[in-house]
């Protein structure tokens, strides 16, 4: 399973990278962590003519907080985000999802930006980004665009990034006080992609749910927000009956794909269970944080 041939570029700056993308457009692929792209190339399913290795772009790595917003550089390695005290303090949902990404060796190289730009609907970070209404900042030679998560994920392995653009950072809102989170997955084995996954975030104010986020992985070709369930939850007090009804609402519109690991019907059933469990865990965590 040897890689096919390609032309290799290793730009030293973002400007050099965007120049290369402007020149090669969709003939080029960006090589970030490589943990998704290189297997696809080994299977000869992906064959970019030009590989632009952006691992030298140190300027794209790092986590910072300004004005209630957390900015995560696209080349921030998953293990660094996992070890980051800033992430633990401000983005508990991201912090809870990171350990579920593959295995330690994958997280040594895998990057936050690479994962959301690759946009595998069964991956964890796209669901987290979708849940938190993250903003994706892309840059090209013509300038920068900011794309909200709802518009970023367009289809299977497809995002709103244009071929001449590079994702430079992802911005998340700092979690409000009183927020509890849970990232739960049903996976065949520890570390596998989710058959169905769920990012859950609940904010409680005086015992009432003031914010609810539910985003599935593995149920469509993009991460899916359960907006009907979220609407039901806001303004209510947590209870088993409420969560059961929310689970029903969340799963009802789903028409998940079938594959070797689960039928469509199975994924829908599991989605129901995950929502109930996720909401219960998030509600418990919210009380702990307060």
């Amino acid at each position: 399973m040897k890689l096919p041939d390609f032309s290799y570029e290793a730009p030293a700056t973002v400007a050099e990278a965007t120049a290369l993308l402007a020149e090669h457009q969709d003939e080029a692929s960006l090589l970030a962590g490589g943990q998704s792209l290189i297997p696809l190339m080994a299977l000869r399913l992906a064959r970019p003519a030009v590989l632009v290795d952006i691992n030298g772009l140190d300027e794209l790595s790092g986590v910072s907080v300004t004005d209630g917003r957390v900015t995560v550089g696209a080349m921030t390695r998953e293990y660094m985000a996992e070890e980051s005290e800033t992430v633990a303090a401000t983005l508990p949902l991201l912090a809870s999802a990171l350990p579920l990404i593959g295995h330690e060796a994958i997280r040594s190289r895998g990057t936050l930006g690479g994962s959301v730009a690759h946009a595998d609907p069964a991956a964890e970070l796209p669901a987290v980004a979708r849940a938190l209404d993250a903003e994706f900042v892309v840059r090209s030679q013509s300038g920068e665009r900011v794309i909200p998560a709802a518009e970023w994920f367009e289809g299977y392995l497809t995002t709103a990034r244009h071929p001449d653009e590079i994702l430079v950072e992802v911005r998340f809102p700092v979690a409000e006080p009183g927020t509890g989170v849970a990232f739960l997955e049903i996976a065949r084995r520890h570390g596998d992609f989710a058959v169905v996954g769920l990012a859950t975030s609940l904010t409680l104010t005086d015992g009432t749910i003031t914010d609810a986020r539910l985003a599935f992985s593995g149920v469509a070709d993009v991460p899916v927000r359960a907006t009907a369930a979220e609407s039901l939850l806001v303004g209510q007090q947590p209870s088993a009956e409420l969560f059961t009804e929310a689970a029903r609402l969340a799963a009802a519109p789903l028409d998940p794909p079938a594959d070797l690991h689960g039928s469509s019907d199975y994924r829908k059933k599991v989605a129901v269970a995950l929502v109930r469990r996720g909401l219960r865990a998030a509600a418990d965590n919210a009380h702990e944080r307060q």
Binding site: M1, K2, L43, L260, S263, A273
Partner: protein, 790 residues
């Protein structure tokens, strides 16, 4: 117990000598071999399950810089001799013979069927070259299941066979089948399916073939379970005498039955090396390994059981269909072994057995650790299903049916004596270790809280090597040979045809020889992996503990006697007064007389001891298995099933086992645990999946799922006090047992967990989605039933 002269090493978990190299990365696996001028091979493979090959155009590939040659199926057909797979050739078979060329010429018969081989300066370039080979195919209707293959109208996979039945239907009866069934209180009927899964060692197949024109010799660096079977296969294919081929093997990264003889690809690489006069390396990648190297276990069974109201299993009548895939290897041999083993350790009075073997457009059915394992699955599943019908506990029904250990021993209805079988003891000890009543209380309490725990038990016996055959023509597994030599440096060398691939023979055999001959463990060297140097042998069938352990024991005695005869001349003493301790020959009671064994060897080599003493102190020993015997055991699993997600967790796994005397307990336990892990993997994770067009769907490790450290619990193992059968050799094999009995153990536990839902399980693969389906289907059946009675 086994009578060994000085038991210092045998029975002890002596640290492995293999570990000194593998732990520092100094193992030598076939992909580590680099020869001057070596080229690399890659195969052009069919994307279709079934098709005619209309045209192969390799011109663009041949023009690619770095590509040295492209050999099509037609090219290779001209330079090789057509013949059966080497394992099939060795074990015989009978039945219709499929005719086919080495690589596909006019027909491709599975996705991944090799059509041409590209030889290049690197594997990277060889794969580039493969993409440039243009092949025109014409689709043929895929024979993608046994059901299709059984249809007389299905397109024959092999034109010369005329249909897709490669093992024509045959039936045997043992005991009075009709009478037993007529007299039974009740007849139960089941259909059971075992799914396709596969060996998947961490190292795939591979070889470096090196033909030297000057000498006309081909050296095959192989990953194989027998250098001799590989040699026979390569020589036959190349149309040369076996002495024109030398097979060398070093460290092998696992096999579990995959690497026996030589596959079509390896034979093609050997032919390519001869054609080019240069070494050619082929290392299969994981995609090839999963898709084309071979698979196993796809069998279905219609079972009728004759039962008494008290739970006696009186008779079984079983009809089996086995899907042997495309190119014949082992599939047609499996039904007769299943037939022979079906009664297990039970008092079964009658057995009817019939089988049909079909070819399909799937990977070949090859040997996989306990190839006949489905007999245990069928029997142990049936016992649990009957227990439920009759309201009996699973331990209870088994203990009721186990044949008593009598003298003379009880006979399996299929003809073998159950000599020394300790099934009753293993079940009873297992029940104690598990404390079933306590579990049942916990199970009930957890059910009330909505958690579903289950317990499953299963028992098995394995002919490792099996009891001595009554005709006296030799043991059940034929003779084992070994050459033993005392070298001039004092090293005791054991030349064996065993080809360990994880079993630790270089340690275990040295333990026995050291004890029996009288040298320190470090003074024994086990020589393996050279067809020019070692006698015939094969590592497989769980044979080595008895056969090779036994030939080592007896051979070491014979060598010792020879050495003492020589030493007697040297020391001017009677051989009867001499002993060997710690590598020193000494006159009993006179420690000052001691001389090193090296000195004896040197004196013999010098000729000074006279014409009656061989210059090389060496013996050729053979062993027929002695009294042999059965291995076996009883396993128990406790599982928890999450009925909302179908996820199964194995909480606890306990095995009581009887393999006679243990050479190295850590090695024994490692074999058992590894086999159990494969069994758990088969039930919860592993499936070689094809769609209805014969497209293979489990071609990467993202889809063919192997168990990880989070999937296999601590496995508790207790060894039983065994029944010694032989005066000297009571080691029995354990290589395959874990994999044979773990699947029904786990399935039985899952069914027990789902008992409140009324689920009955008639299959072996239970991924989460299937668990939920079973619960839902049972609920639907119950709803329909209550509606119809309403």
């Amino acid at each position: 117990m086994t009578q060994i002269a000085a038991q210092r090493y045998t029975g002890v978990s002596v640290k492995r000598s293999e570990d000194l190299r593998i732990l520092i990365g100094a193992g030598r696996y076939v992909d580590d071999i680099k020869l001057p001028g070596m080229l690399h091979a890659a195969f052009v493979r069919s994307p279709l399950a079934h098709g005619r090959v209309l045209k192969v155009d390799a011109s663009a590939a041949r023009a690619l810089p770095g590509v040295v040659a492209v050999l099509t199926g037609a090219d290779l057909d001209e330079m090789t001799v057509r013949g059966p797979d080497p394992l099939l050739a060795m074990m015989g078979g009978g039945g219709p013979t499929a005719e086919y060329s080495l690589l596909a010429t006019d027909t491709v018969r599975l996705v991944g069927d090799p059509v041409a081989v590209v030889i290049a300066e690197s594997r990277y370039l060889a794969e580039d070259g493969c993409e440039l080979v243009e092949v025109d195919y014409e689709d043929l209707p895929p024979v993608a299941s046994a059901a299709v293959a059984l249809d007389a109208g299905s397109t024959p996979v092999f034109a010369n066979l005329g249909n897709n039945i490669i093992g024509p239907h045959k039936r045997s009866e043992f005991g009075d089948v009709a009478g037993t069934f007529a007299a039974a209180d009740r007849i139960a009927e089941f259909h059971l399916d075992v799914h396709r899964h596969q060996n998947v060692p961490m190292e795939g197949r591979g070889c470096v073939a090196s033909y030297v024109a000057d000498s006309g010799l081909l050296t095959m660096h192989a990953a194989t379970q027998s250098v001799h079977v590989t040699r026979m296969g390569v020589a036959a294919c190349l149309g040369v005498a076996p002495d024109r081929v030398r097979v060398l093997a070093g460290d092998i990264g696992g096999s579990f039955g995959l690497k026996i003889g030589a596959s079509r690809e390896e034979l093609a690489v050997a032919a390519a090396s001869r054609a080019l006069g240069r070494p050619v390396k082929w290392i299969e990648d994981r995609g090839e390994n999963l898709t084309a190297s071979g698979q196993a276990r796809e069998e279905s069974f219609d079972v009728r059981a004759a039962v008494s109201d008290d739970g006696d299993l009186l008779g079984l009548d079983v009809s089996m269909v086995i899907d042997t895939g495309a190119y014949p290897v082992m599939g047609t041999m499996v039904p007769s072994i299943i037939e022979a083993m079906l009664p297990g350790p039970y008092k079964l009075a009658a057995l009817g057995f019939e089988s049909t073997a079909v070819v399909t457009n799937k990977a070949s059915y090859i040997a996989y650790r306990g190839p006949w394992a489905s007999e245990t699955f069928v029997r142990e599943r049936v016992l649990d299903l009957l227990a439920k019908d009759l309201g009996l506990d699973p331990f209870e029904i088994r203990l009721r049916n186990v044949a008593p250990r009598t003298s003379p021993p009880a006979m399996m209805i299929t003809g073998r004596p159950l000599t020394g079988v300790t099934t009753r003891e293993s079940l009873q000890r297992l029940a104690q270790l598990v404390d079933v009543p306590a579990f049942r209380r916990r199970q009930a309490a957890e059910r009330a809280r909505g958690r579903y725990l289950g317990i499953g038990v299963a028992t098995f016996i394995e002919a490792a090597p099996g009891p001595r055959a009554p005709e006296g023509s030799g043991g059940a597994l034929g003779q084992e040979s070994m050459r033993l030599r005392l070298a001039e440096d004092g090293i005791v060398m054991l030349f064996t045809g065993q080809m360990p691939h994880g079993q630790g023979h270089q340690t275990t055999l040295a333990q026995i020889a050291a004890d029996e001959f009288g040298v320190p463990f470090e003074q024994v060297r086990v020589v393996i992996g050279d067809s020019d140097a070692v006698p015939f042998g094969l590592t497989g069938g769980s044979r080595s503990a008895t056969m090779t352990g036994g030939v080592t024991l007896h051979g070491a005695r014979q060598l010792k006697a020879k050495v003492l005869d020589a030493a007697a001349l040297l020391m001017e003493a009677s051989a009867l007064d001499l002993e060997i301790t710690d590598g020193q020959v000494v006159v009993r009671g006179d420690p000052d007389s001691a001389i090193g064994v090296a000195e004896v060897a040197r004196q013999a080599a010098s000729g000074r001891l006279g014409a009656d003493v061989d210059a090389i102190l060496e013996v050729e020993a053979t062993f027929d298995g002695g009294e042999g015997g059965w291995s076996g055991g009883s396993h128990c699993a406790i599982v928890e099933v999450d009925v909302e997600t179908g996820i199964v967790k194995v909480e606890r796994y306990v095995a009581t086992e009887d393999c006679g005397a243990l050479i190295n307990p850590a090695v024994v336990e490692g074999q058992i645990r590894g086999g159990i892990a494969q069994g758990i993997g088969a039930v919860l994770l592993e499936r070689s999946a094809y769609d209805q067009d014969g497209n293979y769907q489990s071609a990467t490790f993202m889809d063919y799922l192997l168990p990880t450290a989070c999937d296999i619990p601590q496995i508790e193992i207790e060894h039983l006090q065994t029944v010694p059968l032989d005066a000297d050799v009571n080691f029995r094999g354990v290589g395959e047992g874990g994999m044979i009995v773990a699947p029904p153990t786990v399935v039985n536990a899952i069914e027990d967990a789902l008992a409140p839902f009324g689920v009955r399980i008639y299959e072996q693969h239970l991924p989460p989605a299937r668990i939920l389906e079973l619960i839902a289907e049972q609920a639907d059946d119950d709803a329909a039933a209550s509606k119809s009675t309403a």
